[in-house]
Amino acid sequence: MESRFTGRAHVYGDDIDTDRIIAGKYTKTLNLQDLADHVLEDLDIDFRSKLTKGDVLVAGTNFGCGSSREQAPLALKVAGVSAVVAKYFARIFFRNAINIGLPVLEVPDLEADSGDEVEIDLKAGVVKNLTKHTEYRASAMPQVMIDILDQGGLVAYLKKNGTYDASAL
């Protein structure tokens, strides 16, 4: 996975639940493009048309609360979102995103407006708002999550390692 990239920000608010990321009625499919077609539809019906591949989603607190559906981060990833930056995430969403290889960063004090150019450095854990010339540090992640993301997700991680190694936490 590329560890440094830039993208245009799409900024939304607090408490965006997984039902609004992808409604329950669309989750019953293995065709991931179907998911992407309806991503964030109940939050912003125009999101799909505004999104360019590589854009970054910026949100407030508790992003991804609610259901455990992994279809939520999958829909974002397949639609072309390169990373989600939020003040903090709901627990299951955060884990799911890492497991499927969608970078997620917790930045408690990020300031950005929609359209700002942001740069993300996963290895350094740094988010820069290039438009506003500001720089932020993301909260540290456990090593196991860094390893999983580094290998492109949990499927690849377990294919390589076979199981979880307590000493790699």
């Binding site: 329950g24 499919t29 609360c65 709901a90």
Partner: protein, 414 residues
């Protein structure tokens, strides 16, 4: 060493060494469960990981409940993937109509106190009702459990929530659960476990405790553990293994005055937008729904039947009822509850998630107001983003169905 919380006790046993809050650890998992929303992706990920048979097929459960029976050919194919996986690997399948996953795991004795249970469904926290550390994960995490029999996690800090006093007649476990979510807030327990205890809980049945633990995830909790005082199970269990040490340390301690509690309602679109029923009296209602893993059990249907006995739902109101399992449905058929509710105008839906998650069946119209016994009222949750969903107890929902508007069930009785 300081005393342990319930989460620390259970996770220490599964880590094979003492672990405390904030520690990262790998644990052995006792059981894994997935639904038709999450199983197809989990099976795909499991195969991609190189898996052929789950680590323990007898402790791997597949439940077809979210869109059940299949509403279209696309979903029928997903159900078939689950049936085929069960045939091939020996994993246990619950097919169409048997009931909602969480109800089945407890009703069918698939989970016991002190176990570490992982489910690919966020309301897996329900099993905290009997003192299991049970938590929801996504499909790929569940696939990893099937592959390895293990998972990694951070031992959560714990919030202690005490509900003092006995609740008054007319107030139900659901009111307590909604009050709890209102008090702690939507993200109030994110990354943390919640221990729920107090005098109000002691007389409660396992069914009622399930209603309470179920809403743990509506506060973001990793696990919701109800203390075992008063818990009755049909087998012996070690209560000390699911009780905290007296000197356990908590990040927060909160109390709710159970004796003062009025029936509660959560307003759309947030489960934590909880108010006393009094604020909403007179709100016009189009749809009333009784069911789900929160309130689809026999005592919930009984509560509704007490109110609907000999009455008819108000003109223009649709009342839908779904028993949480076939066993619940059968019991309600045998004791006459089904007849009472049907005579009052209720439409029975198959045992399963039904309208709860908007996948099929009972989708409300634009601008319609729904009162539901479910746990979530997010925008679009029931399949239409233009509908408004209020969450309440079975008695409040039944009373609204009769009156055509939100009323205090106590006012209907005289």
């Amino acid at each position: 060493m300081a005393g342990m919380t319930v989460a620390e006790k259970i996770l220490s046993r599964h880590a094979g060494r003492p672990v405390a809050a904030d520690e990262l650890t790998v644990i052995d998992v006792d059981a894994a469960m997935m639904s038709d929303t999450t199983a197809p992706l989990a099976i795909k990920a499991f195969r991609e990981m190189g898996g052929t048979k789950p680590w323990n097929p007898e402790r791997t459960f597949l439940v077809i409940d979210h869109a059940s029976p299949a509403p279209n050919e696309r979903i029928a194919r997903l159900h078939d993937i689950m049936r085929e996986f069960s045939r091939e690997t020996g994993a246990v399948l619950y097919d169409v109509g048997e009931g909602i996953c969480h109800q089945l795991m407890i009703e069918d004795d698939r989970v016991r106190p002190g176990e570490a249970f992982f489910g690919a469904d966020s309301h897996t926290c329900t099993y905290g009702a009997l003192g299991a550390f049970a938590t929801g994960v996504g499909s790929t995490d569940l696939a990893a459990v099937m592959l390895t029999g293990k998972t990694w996690l951070k031992v959560p800090r714990t919030i202690r929530l005490e509900i003092t006093g006995r609740i008054r007649p007319g107030v139900e476990a659901k009111d307590l659960a909604l009050a709890m979510v209102g008090k702690l807030g939507f993200a109030g327990a994110t990354y943390q476990a919640v221990e729920i205890c107090g005098e109000a809980l002691v007389p409660m049945s396992l069914d009622e405790r399930m209603t309470i633990a179920n809403l743990g995830i509506e506060m973001g909790a990793k696990a919701a553990l109800v203390h075992p005082e008063g818990l009755e199970l049909p087998y012996d269990f070690d209560a000390s293994a699911i009780s905290p040490d007296p000197d356990a340390s908590y990040v927060r301690e909160l109390t709710i005055d159970g004796a003062a509690l009025r029936p509660q309602i959560s307003k759309p679109p947030r489960p934590d937008a909880t108010v006393d029923i009094d604020e909403l009296i007179g709100t016009k209602v189009d749809v009333a729904f009784i069911g789900t893993c929160v309130n689809g059990r026999l005592r919930d249907l009984h509560a509704a039947a007490r109110i609907l006995e000999g009455k008819r739902v108000a003109p223009g109101v649709r009342l839908m009822v779904s028993a949480a399992s076939q066993k619940v449905f059968l019991a309600a058929a045998k004791d006459g509850t089904l007849a009472t509710l049907t005579a009052a105008g209720a439409t029975f839906l198959p045992s399963g998630c039904g309208p709860c998650v908007g996948t099929h069946l009972g989708v409300p119209g634009d601008g319609e107001v729904v009162v539901s016994t479910a746990n979530r009222n997010f925008r679009g949750r029931m399949g239409n983003p233009e509908a408004l969903v209020y969450l309440a107890s079975p008695s409040v929902v039944a009373a609204a169905a009769v009156a055509g508007e939100i009323v205090d069930p106590a006012d209907l009785e005289d």
